[in-house]
Symmetry: C2
Subunit: 507 residues, 2 copies
Amino acid sequence: MVEKPDYMLKAKIFDIETGKNIVVLNEDEAHEMDMLISDRVLLTKGGKKCIAIVDLSTTLVKRGEIVLFSDTSCGIGARHGEMIGVNITSNPASVEIIKKKMDGGNLRNDEIKNVIDEIMENKLSETELASFVVSLYIRGLSNDETVYLTNAIVGSGSTLDLGVHPVVDKHCSGGVAGNRTTMVLVPIIAAAGLYIPKTSARSITSPAGTADTMEVLAPVTVKLDEMKDIVLKTHGCVVWGGAMDLAAADDKLIRIRNSMRLDPKGVLLASILAKKKSVGAEYVIIDIPVGRGAKIEDSRVANELAKDFLEIGEKLGMKAECYVTVGNGPIGEGIGPALEARDVLKVLQGQGPYDLTEKSLVLAGALLELCGKVEKGRGYAVASDLLKSGKALEKMREIIGAQGGNSKVKVEDIPIGSYKEGVKAGREGRIHHVDNKMISKIARAAGAPKSKGAGVLMHVRQGDKVKVGDVLFDIISESETKLSIALDIAAKSEAVEMEKVVLTRYV
Amino acid sequence: MVEKPDYMLKAKIFDIETGKNIVVLNEDEAHEMDMLISDRVLLTKGGKKCIAIVDLSTTLVKRGEIVLFSDTSCGIGARHGEMIGVNITSNPASVEIIKKKMDGGNLRNDEIKNVIDEIMENKLSETELASFVVSLYIRGLSNDETVYLTNAIVGSGSTLDLGVHPVVDKHCSGGVAGNRTTMVLVPIIAAAGLYIPKTSARSITSPAGTADTMEVLAPVTVKLDEMKDIVLKTHGCVVWGGAMDLAAADDKLIRIRNSMRLDPKGVLLASILAKKKSVGAEYVIIDIPVGRGAKIEDSRVANELAKDFLEIGEKLGMKAECYVTVGNGPIGEGIGPALEARDVLKVLQGQGPYDLTEKSLVLAGALLELCGKVEKGRGYAVASDLLKSGKALEKMREIIGAQGGNSKVKVEDIPIGSYKEGVKAGREGRIHHVDNKMISKIARAAGAPKSKGAGVLMHVRQGDKVKVGDVLFDIISESETKLSIALDIAAKSEAVEMEKVVLTRYV
């Protein structure tokens, strides 16, 4: 029910994306309406409504007008010149609920749902959203609150109902360069007859997200019903999660978390599990890489996170298993979309890097056992057979085709940058450490992920012995300038460390 | 030092006030620059620079252009068509400092100063500002942190150095309708030969702030050097604090605190004491009204706040005394700027309401003793003499004249609204409670503070006996419509409660 508008104002649409709902009113008129900057108004047009935050202008907006930015205008489908109903509106119920959390209270299911609902209706200001995330960070979430939050996030968006069983999924907490196990695991699992509707992310700060790498082989931007068709037909997919409306509230929470670099554990758990639950996953394998240079460096933190996943997964009715894995260096040889896609195809052809192959088989085997498809202790062997027999490769070609890619693609069809230069060992010795963060930085400087063919090709791994002048890794780029910038960064950093005993010296 | 700009873009100025620094870039161009919504850029023009947050547009902004909103353009004095330097900039140091507070750490002096400096340079986003305030609220501030914050806020703006002694001041924590003791106390103190450079606030949610009421008698918007002249000449003033640059960071913190209705105690203390310190106050009296319907209802909270004021005041080198006062009902008769100004003049003429007179004399007497001007136990009597002798009234006329008002003003010269209607007792009995919040709401509905002559005139106080039909209070307005709205609110509420034993019934 929309109440009768207090005011009717004429829309002026400004095509500015702000990521939030903002309107601009004439300053004098707003004061007469008793409105201040940052007050909240309810906008109505036809049956549609949305909440917006008020900015003021003395000259840009005349009396009787209202400027809507594109985010806001779309919310109510307003067009230039149309009359918009404007009601001064009180604060959303979330404000008191957020205050309760701030004061150390435990939130009930309906309270968490209320906050998520109001976030989805754009009723909360930046300040309120930040207050919510900061309160969750400082006060923490109980496991029950995490379950409520997961369910609220699932409820905030669309869900996938395949109508078949078992539906399985996997997740990786990230931070390891080149770690493309998903693209090996999905075809193995699909070839085994399970259903795996895998959504992946694009890169934010890394040289490639799984979605970026898969995009080298096939389109990844699909609608929810297209994804359903692909999975029902081929048993699997690797698509970009961002194009669908799954776990919609999560995107809004992630924006705030990224901006303050806050990862409240309960929110992280809810975010991941909501994505799994929204595609109907019943069995989930979670990969938590740990080690120097990985996202999680402390094995105690990794182990605690793993236990929480199990406990909360169970409360959500999902069977989860967690694997804390070795994450102190890149996995595979290529880093960057095309180079990683080449690694994946090589692994599926039985000629890929050992670590990527082995890790994919371990995780795929675990998933086969977890859902009861294969008896305990036989998972790895079954996964290995599916790989060696070429069935996984055949399945991957089927999935690539179903997503609209070239199902006959060969490794050498995948173009990589034509500018290449090796970074060489300055002394003889054993490789002590290959730094995920530095290698990623170099690959990004070379142009990845935007430039699909750019990145780094590793020639050494931790423990290898090298001589002076041996190539440690190649930098590959589609631009000469970017290659030289990346080389410059490589020269100034120690992405590949030789054997040593002291890490850092404080004097 | 401003580094060499990464990009030069042509300014398009939009006259929109957002209360924050925002620029709009062309979406494609921004992506090529590797910038996302909410990223931060450093803008430069000539020697000027400021930090702004990035919004994106596909059509409104062409490649090579940058839209600046008025807040942002003024920061660097940019005009339409001028070329602006744009650098992608990293996160401000405050982010790590805020994180430290979030994690329960104690902040050092330099860390708090860094945050306040970056707030003043508009380097912090809404999200970061909110995170800071929420962290201070949840984690609390030690007394040392409060002292650091006070000094940082003082350092963020201008300060007043009168070059004379003693400089005294007073503050009231607020929430009591009609409580205009400042306008009685200032002329008494000034007449006694002390210096009292009083800055006051305008109303935000009340029917009148002290600045609004003083404005009935004289202009209150003065510059800092004008204030200095007035105080050196007359020993006192009552001006609006908002027009000067005193304790500048406080306004930015207040905006966030109001928006989440958060009053972290340390921030409240720092906010008040910074205002006093920035005008050079050496002796300060603080009035903390407490009681049902006041801002602070719990006497334990009031007493604790009083102790904190003393302790932190001492660390700041100010001598403070606090008075927890009766605040469970309005003080004086008039509520609304003109009605309150009439009360003040009446008190100064020796014919004003008892409670306003008495409270002003007690506080003025305390201040006279605190600074050693008058021996202990004689303050009230001296204040009372200054009032009865007409010296305080004479001093008030001098201050009114110095601020540019009519120094010969009489009570009947002050215009009040011509629409008036009484709210009458529905039954016989004793007045149990007069509710500050409800009376304020009615006065605001009648038009106060914008309409200076609007408000409420009380005819009864707690404890009075009334008969059916006796007028409890008059509603006065300059508009017939507003009068009827205010009457409607009065009819639906119980602003004046008759004697009873049960407050609220839960069934």
